[in-house]
Amino acid sequence: MGLDYRDFQAAAQEMIQSMIASGAVSKPGGGKYVLAVSSVVNDTMQHIDTDQLVKKMRVGLLRSGKVVVTTAVSANGAEDKMAMQTRKELRGNEEFKQSTVAKKGNMIAPDLSLSGKIIQRNIKIDRSTQQVEYYFQMTLTDINTGLAIWEDEQVIGKRGSNKSVAW
């Protein structure tokens, strides 16, 4: 009754397709949007690594050719902490040729932010059967305006014995 990789794959497929079909990732005039991944909240009763969903979406969006993802900005600071730390530590360090060190003011700020939530609802069907519904909700926000330019929800339902339902 729990979520497996097929569920994350199916949810990611639907989300990517929905996002591309909506035109939200197609930058007017061409070019690529820079996307920052915000938080995906796990509001279920299971331990879920939300990166399973987010990573699939990131890969799909990157391959669309319309989006690049920044690892310098995320809900919990820089995702690639070493990249950020290295920039600072090497700058001014005489051991390194300074012309090869990343310069200030070169990093690209994100245009879009991807956030979401996974919700679980348990529904009792009869004395021995329950249905668990997982709601995958995602939002794409235009950071400049603060407006949500795309949103979608995918529902994955699973039915099984009461005994197998994780509360």
């Binding site: 794959q9 497929q13 591309i20 699939k56 799909g60 391959r63 669309s64 050719g65």
Partner: protein
Amino acid sequence: MRFSSAVIIVSSLLLGGCATSSSPEPKGDSVVNVIKQECGNSEIIIKDIKGRKKPDGFMQVQVIGESNSNTYQRLEYRIVWFDKQGFTIDSILSKWRVVPAYAHQPFSINAVSPSTKAKTFRLYIRNEKEIICDKQDDGLE
């Protein structure tokens, strides 16, 4: 659910870049009908497959079918996308996906290409019992 047999089919849509055709490349939003004749079996009929290149460069495919079955059928479909050189474009959007076909009801499939590099596609539809449709068409009219 286990699928004992598979494949189906369907089509290859060329929206430009076809070496064997002198037809002009359709502009954005041009709609190309991929099949002109229905295909399928006694229970599932694929009536229409059409595709278009959207103004933002992505391809969009729509498949219309109808179930003549008395029972619900769980169909699966997969679209493999190709670039203009005929190489497959690897994407999560090319994995098998489920489409429900309810008894005596029409159903549809809508898909977009994973990349603007997609120039052609091949569509496969299967159910758990048999091949539903086996038809290929170059798409250009």
